[in-house]
């Protein structure tokens, strides 16, 4: 039985009147979809800038970040009086905030990205495997996840990093392990639901192995959700890293990360607010952009929803308005 809203066009990818069918694949389609969603396009641009900064920033501004100039300590931002490099202010040692932000970008990303990637990959793979096969595999995986989750993650981090040295690699490992359960549970839940879908049954009928079914059917459908979780987790990891730095077991000076800058600037909140503010802002901007882009990717990778990105934005908002219900 069709509902009223089933009257959405049968060929949604040709929602633009006169659009031709042939441009349906290839990079041009993705580019057009990105450009059409202006907010996602901005987010992509911001993220690109952040990555670029992480890659080449330290090469350009590295020396400024470590250049101590006690005469210029704690200078306020938004004035060029102390040189263009100090436009975002200076820290207690007179080092340029802008330069430190740029160098910290690389450190932060080099801790956060591997941590997120490792936990995402391990958690998702185990989760999908457990959810697809169910039975004892599921039980074991969930109990392991429960154990990890019930450990206060910060406590675990403190213990591990205190016993072993707080090197970047150890920090990544600790953060990764504590975040695995989130992916595991999400992946397991979606995988379990998908394993009973009819098209999965169909794949079983021609003898496809569990692994190939997971790769071919489960993974592409679960991926957008995992991507969304990963971007939110990205934010959490950056902040967790800042908590560790605050406790003195995170990134050690003279290395610098956004989290460490936030932690270090805490004591100066009343006097030199910019010390914590700008790194905090950097974290927020990066995570928000990543989240927006993940939401766009979720729609763009779903052929059924793709039409939303090919219709001009103006039409979308007119559709969203509804009249009062007739009664």
């Amino acid at each position: 039985m069709s509902t009223q809203l089933d009257l959405v066009p049968v060929k949604p990818t040709t929602a633009i009147v006169g659009a031709d069918d042939s441009k349906r694949s290839g990079r041009s389609l993705w580019f057009r979809m990105l450009v059409n969603d202006r907010v996602a396009a901005c987010a992509a641009a911001v993220l690109a800038l952040v990555f670029l900064t992480a890659l080449i920033g330290p090469m350009l501004m590295g020396h400024l970040a470590t250049h101590i100039d006690l005469d210029n300590s704690n200078q306020a931002p938004f004035t060029l009086a102390h040189g263009w490099a100090n436009v975002l202010g200076t820290d207690p040692l007179g080092r340029s905030m802008l330069a430190r932000l740029i160098v910290a970008c690389q450190t932060t990303l080099s801790v956060a990205i591997p941590a997120v990637v490792i936990s995402a990959v391990v958690g998702s793979v185990v989760g999908m495997w457990a959810g697809y096969y169910r039975g004892w595999r599921e039980t074991i995986a969930m109990r392991v996840a429960d154990v990890i989750m019930s450990f206060p993650s910060l406590l675990l981090a403190v213990v591990v990093l205190y016993v072993f040295s707080p090197s970047a690699a150890n920090i990544v490992l600790v953060l990764a392990i504590t975040r695995i359960p989130v992916y595991l549970r999400t992946a397991r839940a979606e995988s379990a639901e998908l394993s009973s879908r009819i098209f999965v049954d169909a794949a079983r009928t021609f003898g496809a192995s569990g692994t190939s079914i997971i790769t071919r059917h489960v993974l592409p459908i679960v991926l957008p959700t995992l991507l969304t979780v990963a971007t939110l987790d990205f934010c959490y990891v950056m902040l967790a890293e800042s908590s560790l730095s605050f406790l003195g077991i995170g990134i050690q000076p003279p290395d610098v990360s956004w989290g460490l800058m936030v932690a270090q600037g805490r004591t100066y909140l009343h006097t030199a607010w910019w010390l914590s503010f700008f790194p905090g802002l950097a974290i927020v901007i990066t995570t928000v952009s990543a989240t927006i882009l993940a939401a766009w990717a979720r729609i763009a990778t779903d052929p059924a929803q793709r039409w939303r990105l090919t219709v001009p934005q103006k039409r979308l908002s007119r559709f969203a308005k509804t009249t009062k219900a007739l009664s």
Partner: protein
């Protein structure tokens, strides 16, 4: 009065109809423009009689019913037409009046009983509700009436089952409950929207028998919405065939099915595998139902019609009488027998 063996006497058709729908038009706003889901639909239902709205999915039959009852979704809008019940135009009155008439004059039974019943309340509470709300009965009295009702619709051990929840009943039983709720206040008109589509065939037979007996007991007009031709042939007295939002043929079931005057009706009848030799090619209708966004000028059925010609492409046919008490919207009704 000549009585036809299987259907009630035809003279009731002359009497005032219980529900008269005229020129009902419903538009839906979609992302690519406005779509006309129901186009100038006109029909009448009489007491003691079953009118079937017959059509495939997307033809607008369900939307017609929800428009009459006032349950359209916000993106859909009635742009013209009237639905007169007991001298009141249901589409023009205010919410309060419509609420008064719900259940007492007009009731509707849906396909999916599980989602139509509230899973958190017992069956007894839900059945007693119409009595408490519309007739202001006290709880005890209302419960007693609810038990009576459950017995009437054939639910065994009603006193004990009053305190059960909807999910504890089988599909057929739930449908009986829905019907019970619908007829509780003896409405003038009962609309049944695909009431048995989700049920087994033996249960379907029981439910349709129940509806028939309730119809004569309460002297209701029943509007049966379905896509099942055999069901229409057995249970309905009159039929209105719908296609792409318009009514293409009306008349008594016996006449329309024996001698259809619209190519779509004929095509549907040909598609039913009855008496065809096994493995023989069924004379199906080619193509697919039209995209409601691009309904062509002229007749809605032209793309699939073997009789289509220039006049069909340029002028939309309106419902014209093709006999006593039957109409067809076709430029060549007499040539349908050759299809």
């Amino acid at each position: 009065m000549t009585a036809v063996a299987e259907h009630p006497p035809a003279e009731r058709v002359d009497a005032d109809p219980a529900l008269r729908v005229e020129g009902l038009t419903v538009d839906i706003r979609t992302i690519t423009g406005t779509v006309r889901a129901v186009d100038q639909v006109t029909f009448a239902a009489h007491r003691g009689e079953t009118l079937a709205l017959l059509g495939e999915s997307g033809c607008g039959k369900s939307m017609t019913a929800t428009a009459v009852v006032g349950l359209l979704e916000p993106v859909a809008e009635v742009t013209s037409g009237s639905a007169r019940l007991a001298d009141v135009d249901l589409l023009a009155v205010d919410r309060k009046k419509r609420r008064q008439m719900a259940g007492t004059e007009l009731a509707i039974v849906f396909q999916d009983a599980l989602t139509a019943l509230n899973p958190l309340y017992t069956v007894g509470t839900q059945l007693a509700e119409p009595f408490r709300i519309h007739q202001g009965m006290k709880a005890k009295e209302a419960k007693r009436k609810a038990v009576e009702l459950m017995a009437r619709v054939g639910i065994p051990q009603p006193e004990e089952r009053m305190n059960s929840y909807p999910h504890q009943f089988s599909g057929g039983m739930r449908q009986r409950l829905l019907i019970a709720m619908a007829v509780a206040l003896n409405p003038r008109v009962l609309i049944a929207d695909e009431p048995t589509t989700a049920l087994d065939v033996t249960v379907q037979a029981q439910i349709m028998a129940l509806l028939k007996s309730l119809r004569s007991e309460y002297d209701m007009a029943v509007v049966l919405i379905t896509h099942d031709l055999a069901l229409v042939a057995e249970e309905a007295d009159r039929v209105a065939v719908m296609y792409a939002g318009s009514i293409v043929e009306t008349g008594s079931v016996a006449e329309v099915f024996a001698d259809p005057k619209h190519p779509y009706t004929k095509g549907l009848l040909n598609s039913v595998p009855v008496n065809a030799e096994r493995g023989a090619h069924l004379k199906s209708i080619g193509g697919a139902p039209p995209d409601l966004h691009s309904i062509p000028k002229g007749c809605v059925y032209q793309a699939r019609c073997p009789l289509a010609s220039d006049v069909c492409r340029s002028t939309r046919p309106t419902l014209q009488p093709t006999g006593a008490k039957r109409k067809s919207a076709c430029h060549f009704p007499e040539e349908v027998t050759n299809v």
